[in-house]
């Protein structure tokens, strides 16, 4: 393999990692609070608010039911507004976030729902405020499940990022399509696939390890 090809491979690897990392962090920061709102505003929970819960649920479902490739193109005006351009790696981060935020929200929601309501009740009986319950009970108790959920999100993002080539986002997926598939470079195709498998493997193992470390059950 030529020097140029190797450079291209590294560039693509970096682009994928960059897109996934940035969108992963942003979607965690927005998705986790949304997940908390989804749970706590539910019927009978500490901050019961059915209208907010329902509206949020509908928005999240709407975003999640749009195929990523369509979402990416459909929100181009929004991307241009935020990043200033609709083409490139940074531009790809916007749709990746939009797709991952509701995913994270749902995952966090199901993780928090696993927390025994008895423990929340005990905290209430001790005079904990809703905010204290969220910070000191819900999140720590659900942390292993949240970590596993975020791992799943990152892996999904690696998959989604392969489509970012469609708007010039670059990355390994794009490389595999343009060189491996369109230029019949089976070797490139093979290497990118191997790297992607390796990436997913590392992310999953790290996530599993952290979740296991944190799980005291």
């Amino acid at each position: 393999m030529s020097q140029d090809m190797l450079a291209l491979l590294f560039k693509s690897l970096w682009e994928t990692t960059y897109m996934v990392a940035v969108s992963g962090i942003i979607s965690a920061f927005i998705g986790i609070p949304l997940g908390i709102i989804l749970v706590t505003t539910d019927k009978g929970h500490i901050l019961e608010n059915i209208p907010i819960n329902k509206v949020l649920g509908v928005i999240i479902n709407a975003t999640r039911s749009t195929p990523f490739i369509i979402l990416m193109v459909a929100i181009i005006p929004l991307t241009r507004l935020i990043v200033g351009t609709s083409i490139g790696t940074n531009a790809a981060i916007v749709p990746l976030c939009i797709a991952a935020i509701p995913f994270v929200a749902r995952i966090v929601e199901s993780a928090l729902k696993e927390v025994d309501y008895g423990v929340i009740e005990a905290a209430q009986a001790m005079g904990a405020s809703p905010l204290e319950i969220i910070k000191k009970v819900l999140i720590p108790e659900a942390l292993p499940a949240i970590i596993l959920g975020l791992t799943l999100t990152i892996i999904s993002l690696i998959g989604y990022s392969a489509m970012a080539g469609a708007i010039g986002g670059g990355g390994l997926g794009d490389l595999a399509i343009r060189y491996g598939y369109q230029r019949f470079r089976a070797d490139i195709m093979l290497i990118t696939v191997i790297i992607l498998i390796g990436q997913v493997q590392i992310v999953q193992s790290t996530g599993d390890y952290l979740a296991r470390r944190l799980n005291k059950k």
Partner: protein
């Protein structure tokens, strides 16, 4: 210490409105261990949750230590709740925290300093006998140990009242005993008022001073444990008590017709109940000697209700009709409970 005035609680369920509590009046005095017993669905869980407003009563007033809890807003309520400890059937410990951190939790909520927390937690660990387990996680503990952590956590803020929600229902009999012992000690040592709900009469018998029987959202019977045990009025109460003290007639009486009035050639069957000192008096033998009658014991047991001895005897007396009547009036002058079961024809006598 605690007064509940006409507490009502209704829920909106899918099948319409459910009346969980239909007007409960209760008074719990300072330093008392007050037991509320009922079958599942009787409303006891709802009742104990109404005391610290985990469930707000639909109607009625809850007063604790002079403070009207039903009138408080959320913020004030949180502050007041810090003075009320609560323990649960399933312990409800934080699985992500160690024993030490679990006990420290209410102190963190009360904004205590690290130093204060440390002193307090170490003291509590010693009190419940778990000093060596302080860095373990709840998953590594047995049920009894988890409940001890629960108790330590409930006591951390020096509460005035401890609420126990089926605190021993998930524990085996031996562990139950040790937990009840611990509660009793805490009650004695700190004069802590304890309200507990349970479906086990054994728990009431072991530690309570006062008992209330709840059924269908209403208190159907209430009083000193000793009184309720020896003279239960309601059927539900009798059923609960029968799990510990047998008040039923032995099966051998099933086919025998009992007569309420004396009939010729009959034996008299009476149930005697002894409380406290009268258990030490040789009533039966002196009666036999004085009136020249025979007494056969059909069933009997002697038990303790906390420190008070309490026993029942089912006796069949046989002899001259006159002697029987004299014996009966003699028994009535003694300090014991007497219940005439009836007269049985002598040929049907079950006494051996």
């Amino acid at each position: 210490m605690i007064t509940l005035q006409s507490i009502e609680k209704t829920y909106q369920s899918t099948n319409g409105i459910v009346h969980a509590l239909k007007g409960i009046n209760l008074t719990v005095a300072q330093g008392e261990i007050f037991g509320i017993i009922g079958t599942s669905g009787a409303g006891k869980s709802t009742l104990i949750r109404c005391i610290n407003m985990l469930e707000r009563p639909t109607k009625g007033v809850v007063t604790i230590d002079g403070q009207d809890f039903t009138a408080l807003n959320e913020q004030q309520l949180r502050e007041e709740r810090k003075k009320i400890g609560m323990i649960f059937q399933h312990f409800n410990l934080l699985s992500s925290r160690t024993v030490y951190q679990n006990i420290a939790f209410p102190l963190e909520l009360a904004k205590c300093s690290k130093q204060q927390i440390d002193t307090e937690v170490m003291h509590l660990l010693e009190l419940v006998g778990l000093s060596d387990k302080k860095d373990q996680y709840p998953a590594q503990l047995s049920g009894g140990q988890k409940q001890r952590v629960g108790i330590a956590r409930a006591l951390a803020n020096h509460p005035k009242v401890l609420l126990c929600d089926e605190a021993t229902s998930a524990l085996d009999p031996q562990t139950t005993k040790s937990i009840l012992e611990l509660l009793k000690n805490i009650n004695r040592e700190f004069g802590l008022t304890i309200v507990l709900i349970t479906h086990e009469m054994q728990v009431i018998k072991e530690i309570c001073n006062q008992v209330a029987v709840i059924e269908g959202g209403l208190i159907i019977e209430q009083g000193q444990v000793l009184d309720v045990f020896t003279q239960p009025k309601e059927n539900t109460t009798k059923e609960f008590i029968s799990s510990i003290i047998n008040h039923n007639l032995p099966d051998i009486f099933a086919d025998i017709k009992l007569s309420a009035t004396p009939i010729a050639n009959s034996n008299l069957i009476v149930r005697l109940s002894f409380i406290g000192h009268s258990t030490e008096e040789p009533v039966i033998s002196s009666m036999v000697r004085r009136f020249n009658i025979d007494a056969s014991i059909l069933h009997g047991n002697i038990d303790h209700i906390q420190t008070t001895l309490f026993g029942t005897l089912l006796v069949e007396l046989s002899g001259e009709q006159r002697a029987l009547e004299q014996a009966l009036s003699y028994l009535q002058t003694r300090e014991l409970g007497i219940e005439v079961i009836g007269y049985v024809p002598r040929h049907a006598s079950v006494a051996v």
